[in-house]
Symmetry: C2
Subunit: 431 residues, 2 copies
């Protein structure tokens, strides 16, 4: 596992490579993805069916072949063992309760000129949720994307998920039932993004597309951005942990591994002011690794993408973590909450010794769809607001235009926009 | 001026062309813009200086040559005539007061498991505002982009504006002084977007880029999206008006023209249930056109991009306007506010007979940077939230992990993520 010390002469060089960790190079897949999108835009279902046959290893001939029936979802849900079903329901309820706290609220006020001003929030008509399949078919991804859309009040929720050979993961089906999904398609990758962005005979055009995916999905989302809105462009998952020796080194080692087991490209960072603690965590990482089912993936991630940074004090730890702007940030110290105001950039912050990231991945309540690769500097976690938009509200009466109209005319005149000026002038004249 | 009647046999065909009015085809300029961005990314200032010499007709040789001094801004502000200066100040104050109403608020709560949950909002470190120059150098654009960034608390605000021959519009300079801009560069077009997205020796890398621009600017914003966040991809401006014969036909005609005078590609729509009123507005458009300084532009816009739609009743007007999802929507009827809940998609809604769009363009308070081309279905007006992002907050104690941990382990196990499961298990075991 890579070790960095902030007092090393080459520290800034090495650290800046960690800061620039996500150089997601889309140029390699760009031509392929552009072609997929263009074909679906031009030929609709014909292109879509052909792409599914090619990439997803089954051959649909009608819309019916693409649809996942609600009966199938119900059966999968009923077949769950009771404990797992209860756990899934608990997650759903907690995620829902959290997101209900953050619904943007319509507001209005009247100012001293009797002008009515405000903002009105409305859900988008249709949202498209992309949920990966295969090895990474996670029912939690469905909950985390569907619940904010449901809470926003979106009427038309459409799910796309790849079904290799026509089969969909049964846990994912069960989660669809739990979320009350009515419209779900067996469509994967860039084809799904293109179909939802432009619409085909089978797939309705949506207004917003959210959800994780590989580089093809990320590239397709970037390319359709503007035609629809998207949540963010996400890369491999990552964790940053600030801990001192009040933390349990074995716990911290496992938390690092819980990120590493996702993906060979996932990144895990520990920043600590205590060198001895750093060494201990490193030893536990090596020994815990061996007990993992996904040992090979985690080992490669730890080897290539992980780092332990020994800093001079907690203040330096905080400065470095702000530079990294990580997706998941754990602060495992006795006074973790006291750093609340110091953290400027992070997708989600997990405070204290009993808040492993996994709790947030499944059921703490906040969304697990989070900005990666440093984009927590400007992106937010997925939320209800991704499925709503606002309209500004303005209503001016006689009093308002009389008191404010002349200033507006001055500004319009200064910008050389005569009809703008005149639209106010005629109203003042015609009183 | 084009007339459509909803009871015409070919109405849906014609109307759907209006709905699909913005097919912003970036493919023509894409290679040029990609090259501009790649060059700046690779060669920094050298490429930037060369591009400015080529496109903006002056030849910078140092950072100093690019910078607009605060002294210059102050002088331009002092040189304004008093009335205009007061009008600009009034606009600034009103825009600021409105945006202060909509600052997203950090919140937290404890649930029944003593779990602390919340969301924390922080401003981005640096924002880049692109303000067009030349014919479309509008000080109002600067106010509308700078004020929400200021209200959000952004410390590093950077402005770029093209300076053809090295000269910057003096009104724009004055507006910069009013907003307290400290860092402004004479850089235009895609070069400015690239420089702010990737940073050069002269231009600091920012986190968010906002502001209007031509097809080169829009394409550059789309290409750098993900490296930075952007506000939206905007096309030509547009207005939709619902009016009945309680409105003054001449006023409505001028409101249509106030959009048309912006740009040959701007769109203006009137939807009314009263045929006689439609005819009257059309006559006024023809006669008012002649008095405009920007007659040629407005005439071409009205000829190619405007339409009057005669509907059977107000309900149909509302349905059609929701399909159009226009940037600016005026409702000019006596009972305008009663339609508040029926309007689902619009950038800004102007209610009543004394609320011409121009008032919102300059000083009503809400932002004039609004989604165009139907993207009000999913984009919001520019606001304080574009310059902030949130971090989710989670803190679980012993009670919380004891009561919720097992469910988390079940879900992690079901997804095959062993280290996730284990990160909870060890904490429960080590109690």
């Amino acid at each position: 596992m890579k070790f960095l010390h902030t007092n090393d002469a080459d520290f800034r060089d090495k650290f800046s490579q960690l800061v620039r960790r996500s150089d997601m190079d889309m140029s390699g897949v760009m031509p392929t993805v552009m072609k997929i999108i263009e074909d679906i835009r031009k030929d609709g279902d014909d292109a879509l069916f052909a792409q599914i046959a090619k990439f997803d290893k089954f051959t649909p001939t009608s819309t019916q072949d693409l649809l996942i029936s609600t009966k199938q979802m119900q059966e999968a849900y009923d077949a769950l063992d009771n404990t797992l079903r209860e756990s899934l329901k608990l997650a759903y309820e907690r995620i829902k309760a959290y997101h209900e706290q953050s619904v943007p609220k319509t507001w209005s006020m009247r100012d001293e000129h009797d002008v009515l001003l405000g903002a009105k929030y409305t859900p988008v008509d249709r949202a498209g949720l992309y949920i990966p399949g295969g090895k990474a078919a996670y029912p939690s991804s469905l909950l985390m994307n569907a619940v904010p859309a449901i809470v926003a009040g979106v009427k038309g929720i459409v799910v796309c998920t790849p079904a290799i050979g026509g089969n969909v993961n049964s846990l994912l089906l069960a989660a669809m039932h739990l979320c009350g999904i009515k419209t779900a398609f067996k469509i994967g990758g860039a084809s799904a993004i293109a179909a939802m962005a432009y619409g085909t005979k089978s797939v309705p055009k949506v207004d917003v597309i959210t959800g994780p995916g590989n580089i093809y999905v990320a590239t397709a989302k970037k390319l359709v951005y503007g035609e629809v809105n998207i949540d963010m462009i996400a890369g491999p998952s990552e964790i940053g942990i600030i801990a001192d020796d009040s933390a349990n080194a074995r716990h911290i080692a496992i938390d690092l591994l819980s990120q590493a087991e996702h993906d060979e490209l996932a990144s895990s960072f520990l920043i600590t002011p205590v060198e001895a603690f750093a060494n201990e965590v490193s030893k536990h990482v090596a020994s815990e690794l061996k007990s993992l089912k996904r040992e090979a993936i985690a080992a490669e991630s730890i080897r290539n993408k992980a780092a332990i940074i020994v800093a001079k004090d907690m203040q330096e730890c905080v400065e470095l973590i702000n530079e990294l702007a990580v997706e998941h940030l754990e602060i495992a110290t006795n006074d973790a909450l006291s750093y609340m105001n110091d953290i400027r950039h992070a997708g989600a912050i997990f405070f204290g010794h009993f808040t492993p990231e996994a709790m947030g991945d499944y059921l703490a309540g906040p969304n697990h769809t989070l900005p990666t690769g440093g984009s927590a500097r400007f992106y937010s976690p997925l939320g209800v607001e991704n499925f709503m938009k606002k309209s500004s509200i303005i209503s001016i009466g006689r009093k308002g235009i009389k008191e404010l109209g002349k200033a507006c005319m001055n500004l319009a005149d200064a910008e050389g926009l005569g009809a703008h000026e005149r639209s106010v002038k005629v109203r003042l004249e015609d009183f």
